[in-house]
Symmetry: D2
């Protein structure tokens, strides 16, 4: 692998993964040849160390849920921020070396999430096959393409099948045809981008004490300011069983007064608030701004208070 | 009555009322001879018109509840603010013209609140007596002292009894010996006084719509910022039955960050917020400041937000 | 006064009060000649002692707010329950002895609430007149009709003016032409009447401790079951300043599952819950039943639980 | 594999997994030779089909979080219930074929969770090694023991290392020495076991609509009845991104009145409530019963209501 270009984007590779495919949809596109990394952790570490300017990694899948490697690395590692998000429909195919027939497939390899998302298809069409899960769908395709591989077929993306010269024995085999994966482009912290009017802010919230009402208190910090959440996920803090932090996406931008007040409320209430960035929503859906929560309402309230204090 | 001194304090009179007695306890004392007014409304109007610098009026009684004439005048009249409060134990006596014996008393006069607070004593000691209520306990004493009065006795304060040359037939006759009345000193709006560390802020809150959850939303504006209420009272808005506003005393001063944020939240949420002043608590009890709600916590959160916005 | 008929209804008299007028609108009507009592307390005591079957008393006015004599007597006295409510538009007139002209009126008498509700009219039309308040508008009319009375006019209801042979110097003089008073018919406790589909339940709630969040907790007992409140009023508990109980009207009937669960929740949460009856709403407005809160929903949930426990 | 014994317990195998180790700690012990299954899904399906009486599967790990295969299978599959839980400290070792030295290790295999939990140790002690993840730590040990395997070492449990005749190159290599995994014993639905005084109830909650306040409403159903949650986890509903259900463990037993009322409230509020059983807590910690929420309090409230209804 040549020395990475510090202006390039890294991604969760190898070549041929869904992340790779998602990266190709970026608009504006990546500024230089993208650099694959074997794990999410390695891709993010490369950003921290300046090897690449940013990295694209998966964060959430509509079927499998949060990508814990990404969530935990962002929550517990040295500070990074999200600057963009990408949504990609997930379509899997069953790929094999040319000449293989579906009836010949006894041993399949793929990533655990792909296995989980094609489980019904596998049960219907390859009830006898054994599935061994590995690090990525692209690696599975590469392994199947390797001469002497003990695997008969890989479940992977179209691009990976094509890249490794495999034949499609079946396509569109995901149990849920509407599955979507969400990816985020992560950089080192810097000035937050301008609001677009349809933004998201990602946070990790650690409670002062893990008392039963803690989550309720956190949710009320958002609700009392009219800020909606579009994702909430509990993650273990790695201390004891039952000790959680919460990874959330809130609607709005840190420059929105209502979100700013909620953030300050959380900062005062929580043991720690990790700010993972404000960035444009891929779906461009603007937030539902309740009466009294627009920036102008906050400004008017602030002026009124100044007059009172007179 | 001589022309009032514009630096003098007015009060809910006449001479000899409990309000008069409360005014005499002010420390520092009233700057000039105080001026009695026949009604709360007249006393407050005199402040608005600059006849007097301030007026002392009753606002709440531990037995009878809120003094609606005061609450409504402050809520609906031209702007005034509270700058001090006074607490006075309420002690009633039964006063009559010299020579009257308890057994002779058939017709008693007093203020309705005094009647209500001595009802049990009256039932026990003067079961046959009729009670006619009037505008003030002092007026009742004056009426009894008037030659030719049809009333045999007045229930009033000690000062009123003495002022009008009456004899005490009984003293300490309130059913509840711990009754306390709270008075407020009201001025025209001006710069808010400095916080003392044990302050109160009085507000009147009008909902945008009178929906069932409106009061819950108001209370949450305080609770989510760790601000406690020490008084809450619903008052009709005078439009339709079931349409209320809320008169509240919140712990803290408008210069406290947590109260300021709650006030701005109310301003954004309510149809109208009437600010009736921040002033020292008569009982000098400091507020219960929850973790994360001190001014320093707010300042730290604000600095953190500025750093995030980069 | 003849011995009251134990099947008759008492009311807050004397003859000619608004309460009397409200009683005449009852449908079905009162079963026998109604019996006036001089005070709310006496009318309610007559019910307790079986002198009358029920009593009609005012409980709330759209301008003046709650009638504290009624609220406190029901909250603190021996148990009574409300079985019906009546709404009556309040119209005041200025009544004087025949021959009096408006210009002659210097001394007016009336009930304090009437004085409060006609204050603007008085300021506009009789700016020089003095107003002395007394026990009822009907008593004021009677006083004015008394030969030798020092009062020139009374503010009272039409019926009272007519009853005492007075002339109307002005009518419709209330500052708020839409003012309404609400009256309740009170009986000794017995089986609760059948639900009509548009009912109200009146309660008095005493907190275990008077902590700041207590009211919020009470409101949440209703809100979490989808029960709306149509009246809430704080009343001092008569112990110390700042110690309140809450008098509330909740939408619905004690036979409604959602209200029953809220009541049981309050019983477990509060120091004391005084149940003052479930009765038909005078305005016949049915409650807003949220999804999942109808009796059928509660029954379905209960069956499901039984199956789980299996 | 011999035909399973229908009274036996299945588990997430193969032989030598942590689940196997956890099963050996059951008290009372499994009634017959336990039956390993290759996946969580197969183990649970075997219960559904009556091949085994119950199955032990991992559900949560203090470092990695929820085991999604288990959570989703229980949430979306045919009904099953949890009857017991087991906690097991997780200790990993690095195992290799006899004669291998640490310095020789270039290619390691293990389960993705084990890889994640030993990442720091690997970075410190085997910075050059490549790690390939597979289906279980026991399978990894078996693979390393296989003649001709391309893998040099496996990260696995002690039992697996010993079972396959491997040597420990290092032990206690988990980054977090306090890591614990929680396992649940799952059976077909039947009568719920007796409460022990320290019980847990597991539920999956689907919102009617995925509106922003939905989670807050769910939490309030528990909080308003004084029921604490010891685990909450969002899981995608597999429809669209941002559409979640919540898997929760609540303190208490379905026979506790407060939990029963919360369950019925959820049943009325949610689109669907999946009841996954009430069972003894492995840590035997009794719940924090708030004043007014004990069974006796609920019974007293119910009696009071009956008396009211008369």
């Amino acid at each position: 692998m040549p020395a990475p270009d510090a202006t390039a984007y890294g991604y969760f590779g190898p070549v041929g993964t869904f992340t790779h495919q998602a990266l190709l949809t970026l608009d504006p596109p990546a500024p230089a040849d993208p650099v694959p990394y074997a794990t999410v952790g390695q891709a993010l570490q490369a950003v921290r160390e300046g090897e690449v300017a940013a990295a694209l990694v998966p964060i959430e899948n509509s079927v499998e849920g949060g990508v814990t490697a990404t969530l935990d690395n962002l929550a517990y590692g040295e500070p990074l921020v999200i600057t963009r998000e990408v949504l990609l429909p997930v379509q899997f195919g069953l790929y094999a070396r040319p000449g293989t027939r579906l009836a010949d497939v006894g041993l399949v390899t793929t990533h655990p999430h792909a296995e989980a998302q094609c489980r019904r298809w596998l049960a219907d069409h390859l009830p006898e096959a054994e599935v061994v899960v590995g690090g990525s769908t692209a690696a599975a395709a590469a392994e199947v393409a390797r001469e002497g591989s003990r695997f008969d077929a890989a479940i992977c993306a179209v691009v990976a099948g094509e890249l490794y010269g495999l034949d499609a024995l079946a396509s569109g085999i995901a149990d849920n045809p509407d599955a979507v994966t969400r990816f985020v482009l992560v950089t080192r912290p810097g000035p937050v981008g301008e609001p677009t009017g349809a933004d998201k802010t990602t946070l990790v919230l650690f409670m002062r004490e893990n008392h039963p009402g803690a989550l309720l208190e956190i949710l009320e910090q958002f609700a009392s300011r009219g800020v909606d959440l579009c994702r909430i996920e509990s993650r273990p803090t790695r201390r004891t069983l039952g000790d959680y932090c919460f990874s959330v996406d809130a609607e709005g931008h840190v420059s929105d007064a209502r979100l700013a007040e909620a953030l300050m409320g959380l900062y005062r209430t929580c043991a720690e608030v990790v700010f993972l960035g404000s960035y444009p929503r891929a779906d461009e859906v603007p937030p539902d701004v309740r009466p009294g929560t627009a920036n102008a309402d906050y400004a008017a309230a602030s002026s009124w208070l100044e007059r009172l204090r007179g």
